[in-house]
Amino acid sequence: MSMYCNIKTQFKNRAALIAALMETGHWMAEQIEVHDEPQHLYGYQGDRREQTAHVIIRRQHVGHASNDIGFARQADATYAAVISEYDGGRDTSKYGPRWQRALKESYGYHVIKAQQEKRGRRVERIRTPQGRQQVIVSGYR
């Protein structure tokens, strides 16, 4: 008997989140700050914001007139995105819903890849004609 399930994607694995940020944001590893303690985010005018985060891409790497982008570790150990309205609030925003979807897809791929390659399996991803990413694991025999 097989069971369907839905998984509401959450960023739980920091290494996979960083890999996904590098892939979808085209940032280099040294452009992504990682902190054990939360650090303040800064706005486009250099103003310190109330919001804090543990994984941060500073505004100079985000874009002209952009604010810092952060991911704040929550009490349940998941990372929640902190993206300003300007950078992510609209469908047309560079880091808006479309990018955030791509980030989740990339995160999922990197989580599965890391897990499965440890077990000697191969992981690939394809895009369906409907535009959906599929992740396929092989080499388990």
């Binding site: 097989s2 369907y4 839905n6 998984i7 509401k8 999922g108 369906t128 959906r132 599929q134």
Partner: protein, 95 residues
Amino acid sequence: MSAIPVLEFDENGDIVTLYTDEIDLYELGVIGGVRRASHVEFDQARQEWMVRTPDGEVVHRDRNRERAIEWEIWNFGPGGPHQPAPDRDLEVSNG
């Protein structure tokens, strides 16, 4: 070991798949919307394994149980011909 199902991401970046213990799905997020996809049962009269839809329709038969399960996973998983479209985008409750 049975086949590992495909994982498909929807338009929100959330995932639909067949449940498997071969992937740590918990590392991907919150699991919900668990519902029956199919059954694999033994047909004593015909001495073979059959794959049934949740409605009871027999859609595949095989004398080898592992092959029947593999067929089930590929055909009922994301992108498979028996994946029911209405269930693909169920809301997942965090509660």
